[in-house]
């Protein structure tokens, strides 16, 4: 059992290693956090997610790779859940700046949240 766990871990790190050279975006923890949000929400509280996503953003910059679509908006939602309105707004704006395709949705989110106080 331990041996197979070790093999799986090795395999996992090998594959993750490949992922950094073959994908065009830096994926980091993003999809794993989406998974945890639904399956083990206790392990993916807004604070944990913010820490991991901010760390991913730094690592992406170090690796010279772009941030994938959606990540900044997801980070914005986490800041909002945590009551940090200014960081939530900044993250949503960053999503729109990187990906203008998100404008209709992001502008609507911002407009409605300001209407609701």
């Amino acid at each position: 059992m331990n041996k197979s766990l070790l093999t799986a871990t090795l395999l996992g790190s090998l594959l993750t290693g490949c992922a950094t050279t073959k994908t065009q975006y830096y994926w980091g923890e993003y999809e794993q956090l989406i998974y945890q949000t639904y399956h083990t929400p206790g392990e993916a509280t807004p604070i944990v997610q913010i820490e991991k996503l901010e760390a991913d953003i730094s690592k992406a910059a170090e690796a010279g790779m772009p941030i994938p679509p959606g990540l900044y908006a997801h980070l914005g939602l986490m800041y909002a859940s945590n009551g940090n309105k200014s960081m939530a707004l900044a993250s949503l704006q960053k999503e729109k700046e990187l990906y203008p395709e998100s404008a209709t949705f992001i502008d609507g989110l911002i407009k409605r949240s300001s209407e609701n106080g």
């Binding site: 050279t21 073959k22 994908t23 639904y38 959606g70 939602l77 395709e101 949705f105 609507g108």
Partner: protein, 214 residues
């Protein structure tokens, strides 16, 4: 040695010609609409595994984005739809395209229909199965732009989770180590790769696509 080489060659030809029987996909509608952005609606679940829709949702952003499309943040969208009176994926799948156009501004929607999902316990082993159908619909016209069956199964005893394709798509399979108790995400990633990168009926690349760096 020569015989071995020969049989490898013959076997590869068989493999290649096996693939060649797949009819090439008709990309006319997809080319004509050339969507830039894709909204993934949380999947409809026809399997007995209640967690299937959101597990699948956590595996689909990467292949769509790596193909060059803007993918709306799946859990932000899910959260938004829930807050707006659509508590379940079934209800989310019934949102009219005009509303999606007006409020989200997506060019295309990816609808997912999960058929079978999870671990099947058999006499000598357990097999993990992921089976779904996906279709990409134009938000402006409702036309079908692209569709594909999503299928993979993993048998830990075969020592071969995806064969050649499994090795090729290894790059997409990431973060497995943390998911040892549930290997459906990695099986779903393999299934996605096979569908999105299929030679004759994979998804065409979108505006953000960049050739992979070697």
């Amino acid at each position: 040695m020569k015989n071995l080489l020969l049989s490898v060659a013959v076997f590869s030809i068989l493999l290649v010609s096996g693939c060649a029987t797949i009819e090439p996909y008709d990309y006319q509608a997809l080319k004509q609409h050339a969507p830039r952005s894709i909204l993934v609606i949380p999947p409809i679940n026809n399997s007995v595994e209640v967690n299937a829709p959101y597990t699948y949702l956590s595996t689909v952003t990467q292949p769509l984005a790596e193909k060059g499309y803007y993918v709306f943040p799946v859990s932000v969208i899910d959260n938004f739809l829930k807050e707006n009176g659509l508590p379940t994926p079934v209800e989310m799948n019934s949102v009219p395209l005009e509303k999606i156009d007006e409020i989200i501004g997506a060019d295309a929607v990816l609808y997912v229909d999960i058929q079978d999902w999870g671990q099947k316990f058999q006499v000598f082993s357990s097999v993990t199965v992921v089976k779904a159908n996906i279709k990409l619909i134009s938000v402006k016209t409702g036309e079908l732009l692209w569709d594909a069956p999503i299928y993979a199964q993993h048998d830990p005893n075969s020592g071969n989770s995806g064969g050649l394709v499994g090795a090729l798509v290894g790059a997409v399979v990431s973060q497995i180590a943390g998911e040892l108790t549930d290997n459906t995400p990695s099986v779903a990633r393999i299934a996605n790769s096979q569908a999105f990168y299929s030679q004759k009926r994979g998804l065409l690349t979108g505006p953000y696509y960049q050739e992979p760096k070697k």
